[in-house]
Symmetry: C3
Subunit: 217 residues, 3 copies
Amino acid sequence: MPDAPLLSLLHIAMEACATLAFAVSGLLEAARKRLDAVGVCIVAGLAAFGGGTLRDILLDRRPFFWVVHADWLWGLLLLCVLAMLFLRAHHFAPTERAMQWPDALGLGLFSASGTQLALAQELPGIVAVLMGVITATFGGVLRDIVCNEIPTALRDHRPYALCAFVGGWLLVLATHAGVPAGWSLVLAAGSTCGLRVVALVTNYSLPRWSSGALPGD
Amino acid sequence: MPDAPLLSLLHIAMEACATLAFAVSGLLEAARKRLDAVGVCIVAGLAAFGGGTLRDILLDRRPFFWVVHADWLWGLLLLCVLAMLFLRAHHFAPTERAMQWPDALGLGLFSASGTQLALAQELPGIVAVLMGVITATFGGVLRDIVCNEIPTALRDHRPYALCAFVGGWLLVLATHAGVPAGWSLVLAAGSTCGLRVVALVTNYSLPRWSSGALPGD
Amino acid sequence: MPDAPLLSLLHIAMEACATLAFAVSGLLEAARKRLDAVGVCIVAGLAAFGGGTLRDILLDRRPFFWVVHADWLWGLLLLCVLAMLFLRAHHFAPTERAMQWPDALGLGLFSASGTQLALAQELPGIVAVLMGVITATFGGVLRDIVCNEIPTALRDHRPYALCAFVGGWLLVLATHAGVPAGWSLVLAAGSTCGLRVVALVTNYSLPRWSSGALPGD
């Protein structure tokens, strides 16, 4: 895996896009719930950094990403201020549609890097995959819990965590097969992101509990 | 305390039954809330392992139980798949009734072992008892929070955490009195479990706030 | 900063008042939600110690305050028992009004000490300020999440976290300017508390999203 400055820059740019998408999801949900300025910043921050922070707590890793790169907290604050100044009702739907794509990128990137961090601690495959899934999805889960909703990721019957799950296993297999870390990351992130894009494009929905399977049906 | 292989096997079998009961409680609540496959697995996992994981985070213990024994994650996954394939609406009520007993076992076992782990870190009695209560009850609390409900353990006026509280103090007293660890564990787990069974059988309900004590009465 | 026994006593007395105010806020919300005895104790405890505990988890500090000073857990338990025995519906509103002032004290004290602890770990200014805000406000956030409400601190458009944010930056600036730790703490805690008192007295409300800015307006 060539590690030229250009590649490194590309990686940072992709992470910034993905984090932006996560933060915007929090921002929009906070706005819908009529939270105040503090609520908007906290929920956007949870959506952007909550998953990685929870993973680091579980893996006992310090310092957190947003402690080392405190600039990102400033960026988040700026984003929230700009949104509160300029966001209008008719921007919500198009923003959400536009954010689906960098969000898919983030799902791939963050789940793959979460899985890789866990593998580096020699954790079992299934634990590493779970850490990847947590990294990518628990920001959204925390966002929804704080906003008093059942987390979308757990109930919308769209493949989201599932894409990260599949990509995570590819990373585990590639790592065990001796593929260099850089390439396994690209493979896993690409597969997860690709699966998510396919799911979005085809509007695929996971099978539901069969009719009559649940009380009250 | 004889530590024969048979006893050790019995201990594992009891823990498996209890964990199953916790996981099933998550599974059923996830199903009632119409969560998707991901939600079912996450909520069942939180219910089964959330309490112990929170305790370990508070006590700064690593690795977590489900990291060392990753087989249990596979078991959980299998359980969720089987439930989604075979569970029908008319199974819910009998399953829940049947699970009350291994759940009481889990309340005893996990609260006693949580208290004992805290005592081993030389924490004060009340902190150790609290850790036991957290171990046994916060899986259910997290399950309910994610499912957007006020946690049952905090509002159903049934002695649940309270049984663990009493059993925890017995463990603290027994430990301070020099009773060997194995026997104190059996004493505490047995008392907690027994109290819970009595509460279930007698349908005992904790006293409520007296009438007129609360606004809106 | 003179560190005479009298000052130290004053500090403890102020912390006790503030912790009492936080615990009472949890107690009252638990009562309103008709939680049982266990729920009252857990929610009061979360409100009182949740913010500091979350900060310590994020900063990887052990032991927690309530582990070293386990007496405070006994005090909390006693408070809950007394409340359940003697609290009546007509006490709720006056208690809440009376608690606003020690609560403002707690906002100042706990946010300033949280920021100072983070600065002692050489964290960046914005991270330290965030830790202060989390210390002072996340007890209430956790209290509201468990009670299945959107956290008040994130939606009531009153300056609360914002006062801690301003005070936190004063502490960061004072520390960088070489002001001794004791005096910076007094400055920051006093400013935060003062701002909150002004906000309460003037009934100040943060600006809202402009009309038409949100969907559904």
